[in-house]
Symmetry: C2
Subunit: 231 residues, 2 copies
């Protein structure tokens, strides 16, 4: 269905960093060529080897991007928040991805076909620049993760992650965006180890856990020191 709400601020394209610098009528035009789809928790948005033809933009909700190995082991690559996009490889290469995208909650996705997107990028060169900007940030994040995975021990990685979250959520009372299982996968470790280390942090008075997702950070300094420790 075409996305033609009366109110521009409700358009998904208005939420996306690489469209929201355009004029309103331009955004409406883009909204018209985009399709919408709603998923519930656990829905697979695309699977490895699916022919990839769309750029997917998260409008509402959260999406988990991961790889799946033969053993059934999952590697979480990133969690997308509203305004972020995925499936971009479709736009530039013929490759199929070896990754999966799964809705973590009720999620509304805005899809734009590769051909239309290519056209758009030619028509509005600034769009490509905006995408480049996001790409370079993502590459930066990927590089950071690579470094941490091989140089820092699990404790440091968890500390580093909690601090990042604190920054992002602008509060010392943070809410984990995913289960500890997914978090473990993202940080290259296991549920059990995450659990043990966080209990340890709690015993040391650095943090306090409440329920499965809520974490209060008490001692930022110590956490910072731990996050810098290397193996």
């Amino acid at each position: 269905m075409a996305c033609n709400h009366p109110n521009v601020s409700q358009l998904c394209v208005a939420k996306v960093p690489f469209f929201n610098h355009l004029a309103i009528d331009e955004m409406v035009k883009i909204a018209e060529i985009s399709k919408h789809h709603t998923y519930v928790k656990g829905d697979i948005i695309y699977q490895a080897w699916d022919p990839l033809e769309y750029l997917y933009i998260v409008h509402i909700g959260r999406v988990k991007i991961y790889q799946l190995f033969e053993s059934g082991k999952e590697q979480v690559l990133r969690i997308l928040e509203p305004g972020e996009f995925f499936g971009e490889l479709a736009l530039f290469t013929e490759k199929t991805l070896e990754t999966y995208a799964e809705a973590l909650e009720k999620t509304n996705i805005c899809m734009i076909h590769r051909d239309k997107m290519q056209q758009l990028m030619k028509e509005y060169p600034t769009i490509a620049l905006k995408i480049l900007e996001q790409f370079s940030q993502r590459l930066d994040a990927a590089d950071k993760l690579i470094g941490e995975l091989s140089v820092k021990d699990v404790e440091a990685r968890i500390a580093s992650y909690l601090l990042d979250l604190m920054d992002k959520q602008q509060s010392t009372n943070i809410i984990l965006p995913v289960t500890k299982r997914d978090l473990a996968s993202y940080l290259g470790t296991t549920q059990e180890t995450i659990s043990r280390r966080m209990t340890k942090f709690q015993k040391q008075g650095i943090i306090k856990q409440e329920g499965h997702r809520k974490v209060s950070i008490f001692d930022v300094e110590t956490l910072q020191a731990i996050s810098l420790e290397e193996m």
Copy 2:
């Protein structure tokens, strides 16, 4: 110095995927706004925290991009071959990088200032598209590495790496592009472990090593099987 060789095929811009689709006079024009610099083995091209103002394109030689941790431990992120570029974050964000770039051998670099590059991208929208294409491939490679670092054991990672190299060099007699030390860093392990595993492979008759850099692959099948093994 401006890059104004008489022969177009010698222009660095002619070697770079994101310029080489342009017309000859356009390439010449770009060559005129680019600077060249030659480095010898071990030279640092840029260091963490340096203000980053250029897009660097490898013309001749090879460049190692890495992070440096407090302990002095190094994480190799990628090795660039002629035609590949780095420093691209400079083009899109104000961030300084936390990475280092070092020449691995006598290397000639082509530099284009961020302002000029921005201008070029606006003038020739296809350039931005070409860069996007390389970016998405790089992101793909980074994701692959992240998955391997946390799911596969060292043996599988080495096997996987050797196979990639075989593909890239189109021969079963491959030459390691870096020292085993750098290779270890890239694969998230140590020199010693690499050494041990490769000796093991050799004893199993899967490969044969000659000198420090030459490796002949005898048993591709077995290597493939090993590369798929997970922890």
